[in-house]
Symmetry: C2
Subunit: 405 residues, 2 copies
């Protein structure tokens, strides 16, 4: 198949590109390197020493004998996207090309506008380009479980049958997202659904949980193929952050009570899910939603798991509650359905101490690259709520590691 | 009260400004004249010969003795909006400043992007400006009944209690809007709701039905105060369009079967509703949704009403079904709740032949201003669906009026 990976230089995009290329598909990646740019702007970086896109593509050619094509440009540039589609005529598009961070979207008005502009207008441009260039193409769009928020009822996969005053209908599941980033994904979902209803496009919205892990089958073959690994307040997801904190001797930063429960999955399962979605496309006119996670955990449970695993490897790990920079329920009901990908054949890699230890081992190899300044949260959902003294107290609470600082 | 009217040069914005000014409030209007510009771009115009904003304000001063202040600028300009709020310190903001047309949003990718950018980013800028400048201010935001679409269950006011698998929660009513414009309003609603939940702002979302009518109490006092009246395919709402068609002898353009049912209200009731919302503000942190319409009609019912009323005045009126340029259900269940504004004291002006005849009389006064070219729909929800021959057939079907053409 001809497959286009939008955001193909990213944490998930690059491993996805290699996976489809390894399976013999004709793969093209598109990226504008905004993640690399945001890191430069913040004086942060990936823990893993990732190569440039051109070097990665060359290394992949050496290792696999397969060619990955690339285009450099932005989703906001409608004519660029249209040109890429008309040149590559993809049968499937995997769309990761968005600003993916909740705290980034909450740091300022400018960042909020950038996030909603990049994500919503970028996806809107893509929908028009698909309609006009490749209307049969299957769009596999990365959404997030965070679109649902934490309702007091079970979360279904995109739609819910509602009985009301003696009648019933199956309607989009109501959304109560927790950040302006998550809102951009809600907006996207509504726009993509519309394009399927009105223009007869086909799309799968993958409402993904929180991803953890570093290595995939392909990236393990050559160190030049490693994907990025973020642990900073903006782009680091919670388990990845905890693992870095455990290795450098920083208290694990549990926000508030730690009862926040979410769906999680291994990066290897992200690749499986995307493969399953592409191999089993939606029908023309269909907007399909899969909840893409394998297990639910609370933040406190994850912290305990990292503590146990770290201590097995000789790290002294402290779990500490920090003032929550977000506004969110810290104890709540959470039960989300995730059977559709299982029904298609997903075989989950479950989370356990062995998996965490394997992450800690890779992090240890790169511990000298850790930028400690980037770890504590500075972005607050409610400006003025966490004032300077509290941040200072948080910083003071950081236990210096022996011998390194 | 200090009241800011965003979009204060528009069909509803200008009458709203006069109403609050007449009641003794301190009124400021903001507009960037985009509606006037869009008309210029399309070689169309308001049926009524509206004055410039400065002339209107001067005429209002002469008539009422009251001063309305104005700022010219765009919602997309975040710093402008922030400046206006810091200078005027409004206690209530009535926000009409959006691209309000479904067909306009569907005419091209550029128009779709313009619509979602103007509306979503404009409102996002406003939310940040309120948070930072006037956090206690009550935002009265114009939404639309079109956000809900036509579900097979009763439509509630913004939220619905859902029982599911033995649990229950009250959640945002699911949205299935019918155009990229309506989607922009859905995005706005989610963003405004978030700002109330997270930042503690207060907002009322007025999910308004289709407005008809020309005259309000204040505009009737002096012809220089008349508001705009659009009848073109982009900005003309259905009953207003039918009335112009009846006067010029054009067949009433019913799209498809005409079973499309919607909520409607008189422009005089829009003013009542906005006054009631401002006089009874939401609580801090509250996001309140009112369904703002007074009666439900199908398009076919409206066409018959205009035909009867027109014929009473000696117009020969033909009702004709045209190929539907939109993709929408032409027969469907529709029952929407609208008790909240009634509970606050709304006294509806109901639609009848007398009201239609009064509209027809005003239109007759301005019939020489009608631009007939602007009447037939050229924008299609599904490009390529209505091809040229059909458009030609539609044009050929237009019956020339005696003596005028």
């Amino acid at each position: 198949m001809r497959i286009l990976i939008l955001g193909g230089d990213g944490y998930l995009g690059w491993p996805t590109a290699m996976r489809f290329s390894a399976r013999g598909h004709e793969v093209t990646v598109v990226d504008n390197f905004s993640r690399r740019r945001w890191h430069t702007d913040n004086s942060t970086d990936s823990l893993t020493p990732i190569r440039s896109l051109a070097d990665r593509i060359e290394a992949w050619r050496e290792v696999s004998g397969n060619e990955i094509r690339s285009f450099v440009g932005s989703m906001e540039d409608a004519e660029f996207i249209e040109r890429v589609l008309s040149k590559t005529l993809p049968e499937a598009i995997v769309h990761y090309a968005e600003q993916p961070s909740a705290p980034y979207s909450m740091r300022s008005r400018e960042a909020a506008v950038e996030t909603q502009y990049t994500n919503v207008i970028g996806t809107l441009n893509l929908l028009f380009a698909i309609r006009d260039q490749v209307p049969d193409c299957h769009l596999v769009k990365l959404g997030t479980m965070g679109e649902y928020g934490t309702p007091d009822i079970d979360i279904e996969e995109g739609f819910i049958e509602i009985e009301h005053k003696g009648r019933s209908d199956t309607l989009p599941f109501p959304k109560m997202p927790g950040s302006l980033y998550h809102l951009s994904k809600v907006h996207d979902s509504h726009n993509v659904h519309f394009a399927c209803r009105i223009w007869g496009l086909r799309a799968t919205d993958l409402n993904q949980g929180v991803v953890y892990g570093i290595e995939t089958e392909e990236s393990a073959e050559d160190e030049r193929l490693i994907t990025r690994f973020d642990y900073d307040e903006y782009f680091g997801t919670v388990l990845n952050r905890f693992c870095v904190q455990a290795v450098i001797g920083h208290p694990l930063t549990v926000y508030g009570e730690g009862g926040q429960t979410r769906g999680f999955l291994n990066i290897r399962d992200t690749l499986q899910c995307v493969e399953l979605a592409v191999a089993n496309p939606a029908e023309l006119g269909e907007f399909r939603v899969f909840n893409q996670f394998t297990e639910q955990f609370s933040v406190a449970e994850l912290a305990e798991l990292v503590k146990r695993s770290g201590e097995q490897m000789g790290h002294g790990v402290e779990v500490r509650s920090f003032p929550n920079p977000r506004i969110e329920a810290e104890q709540h009901y959470y039960n989300a359905t995730n059977t559709k990908l299982i029904d298609l054949g997903l075989k989950p890699h479950l989370l356990g101490e062995e998996l965490v230890r394997s992450m800690l081992r890779i992090i240890e190899r790169h511990r000298d690259r850790v930028i400690e300044r980037a770890i504590l949260p500075t972005t607050r959902w409610m400006p003025g709520e966490l004032e300077r003294p509290e941040v200072e107290a948080m910083r003071a609470g950081r236990r210096p590691r022996q011998g390194i600082e």
